[in-house]
């Protein structure tokens, strides 16, 4: 095995055809991306007006000891190229600086808010994938029927809905006018009762509106993709052959066609991870959801730069890992990918 640069590794053919080889190759490809993102932050810190300490600590008027400590950790008295290497090393170790507002390491703040965001995003994604595939299959079985046209037009509408407007609209209707659902937050029971049945049901009620709001555009996208792919696959020879053999229609659709149609959906989910985080910032802001997005919004208002940058790096790295996972899943499902 011969390697020159991390981004273009030349793996021996036989090796590259195995799953292990593919995973190693993809892992190495992500290294430059992560470095570019951290580099971008470094450049931004230095381009922004004011002291560099301000960007890392958020305030010039922090107590002198902390500033001194920070200057030393990030090597701010050294030449620029050394600073870059130190910054890279610090960020990779999870040191994103200290929040000016909370006086706490940024990483702690991020990890504290992470579960709420993961809960919201996985809930929105499940909503979008399940409903998108069900509707897509339904539409493709009777293409150009009134039902199909209605869903297709709705999907264009769903795709164009600004998340924050949809959020406010649903909040006004369901929370303020009808009082059916809570208008925001994660819980409304006392802290002690969160883990009881009542507490979990309460949390699920809080989850409904943000899930629908964040999931709608993904739902529209997955629906369109599933429908288009199903239409293409259902016209192919092996499906016609299966029909000719007298196989049950449901067995063909769900057993043969849908399996092949899952692959592009997997890719789209990966590509859209970054887009969904953007949506999460807006959704969490509308519904006061205590996640990463809300942390970013609050930090924007306070101009708490270390937190804003930390959240950005953290989200970017999560997106990269997410894309990596979907790519590996794709290669696992479709062996042809590994040969490329």
């Amino acid at each position: 095995m011969k390697m020159r640069t991390p981004c273009r590794c030349h793996v021996v053919m036989s090796e590259s055809r195995t799953m292990k080889g593919y995973v190693i190759r993809r892992l190495l490809q992500t290294v430059p991306t992560v470095i570019v993102i951290i580099l971008l932050n470094f450049v931004l810190i230095h381009m922004a007006s004011g002291d560099v300490t301000y960007m890392l600590l958020g305030s010039e008027v922090g107590d002198p000891e902390t500033i001194q400590h920070l200057r030393q950790t990030f090597g701010l008295d050294r030449p620029l190229h050394e600073q870059l290497l130190i910054y890279l090393a610090q960020v990779l170790q999870g040191n994103f600086g200290v929040s000016y507002w909370f006086r706490e390491p940024v990483l702690n703040l991020i990890l504290e808010r992470l579960p709420a965001t993961i809960l919201l995003m996985s809930s929105a994604l499940s909503f979008a994938v399940i409903l998108g595939i069900v509707l897509g299959v339904r539409s493709s079985r009777k293409p150009y029927s009134p039902m199909d046209s209605a869903i297709t037009v709705s999907s264009l509408i769903g795709y164009s809905l600004p998340v924050f407007w949809l959020g406010e609209l649903l909040m006004v209707i369901f929370a303020l006018w009808f009082g059916l659902l809570p208008s925001g937050g994660l819980h409304s029971v006392p802290t002690g009762q969160i883990m009881t049945t009542e507490g979990i049901l309460d949390m699920l009620r809080h989850l409904i509106l943000p899930t629908v709001v964040l999931g709608t555009s993904q739902l529209a996208l997955i629906y369109r993709l599933t429908r288009a792919n199903m239409l293409e696959i259902l016209g192919q020879d092996y499906i016609i052959a299966a029909k000719a053999k007298g196989l049950d229609e449901n067995a063909i659709v769900y057993g043969h066609a849908l399996r092949n149609c899952m692959l592009p959906v997997v890719t789209v989910i990966g590509i859209n991870a970054g887009f969904m985080f953007g949506g999460a910032v807006l959704t969490e802001t509308v519904f006061s959801w205590p996640g990463l997005g809300r942390l970013m919004y609050d930090s924007l208002l306070r101009r708490d730069y270390p937190v804003i940058m930390g959240v950005f790096i953290f989200i970017s790295i999560m997106v990269i890992i997410f894309i990596l996972i979907t790519d590996i899943a794709y290669a696992y499902l479709d062996p042809r990918v590994r040969y490329k």
Partner: protein, 299 residues
Amino acid sequence: MLEGSTFSEIHETLLRHAVNSKELWHRYVRSKPAVVGLFLLVGFVFVAIFAGSISGFDPLRTGVGPILQPPGRDYWFGTDDSGRDVFSGVMYGTRVAFLVGLAAVLGSTIIGVIIGSIAGFAGGRVDDLLMRFTETVMIIPTFVLALLLVAIFGSSIWNIVVVITVLSWSWAARLVRAEFLTLKGREYVEASKAVGSSNWFIIFREILPNAMTSVIVNASLQIANAVLIEAGLSFLGLGDANVVSWGKMMYDAREVIRFAPWTSLIPGAAIFIMVLSFNLVGDGLNDALNPRLKETRAK
């Protein structure tokens, strides 16, 4: 090199490129959603041009009426918590939405076309390098980075336009590169090379015109995206304080949404309808310009 297929290929690309405007129009109006989109878009253009005469008030002036007046005869869309007329704001907001959408997409399309052309035409290592870079830009969460950039560099309307431009050229670049890869090998290009055309001639006169259809469709969808990003930034309080933008109106109204939902929901509806109209037009153009695609789908 100049074999029988050359003629048919030239013919085919000519057909694709020399868009028969009448036929294109016929194919476009066949789709109802596309016509609705065009109708809405023309409406927005009209509003943007005549915003001054349509709206009765200065959208930024406070106290033109009583505060938090619900929609009615005097104030069609009501007034906000500092007595500004919401209808005038929505009318003037059209201008900012168009400005951001068109300027950002013009810029990002130019960047994308340049990078995509270089990558697709040069191929090899140049292509590898440029596409790696493009992919990296695509992976970065656009909206989150836009928030960061605007927070650091300030939220003037032109800063916002530049940020959206810088973050959204990657789609055009990928598209143009893909078109170059397909078209580069076509025999009409080979023929042009054989008669001694320069690289510039081949890029600008032979290949780019044929890549334009997908660039235009992409641009129309990207405008929708740019409008959404600007609205989202303004909604989070990172909008330009000196202009009237729908997102900023929603930001200003967030405190009063409980008692006066119109102050926020009406400007939001305007964002939605504009984004929808660009998406509908983009989709309609796509179907009209690539009829073969539609046929295979219809099968």
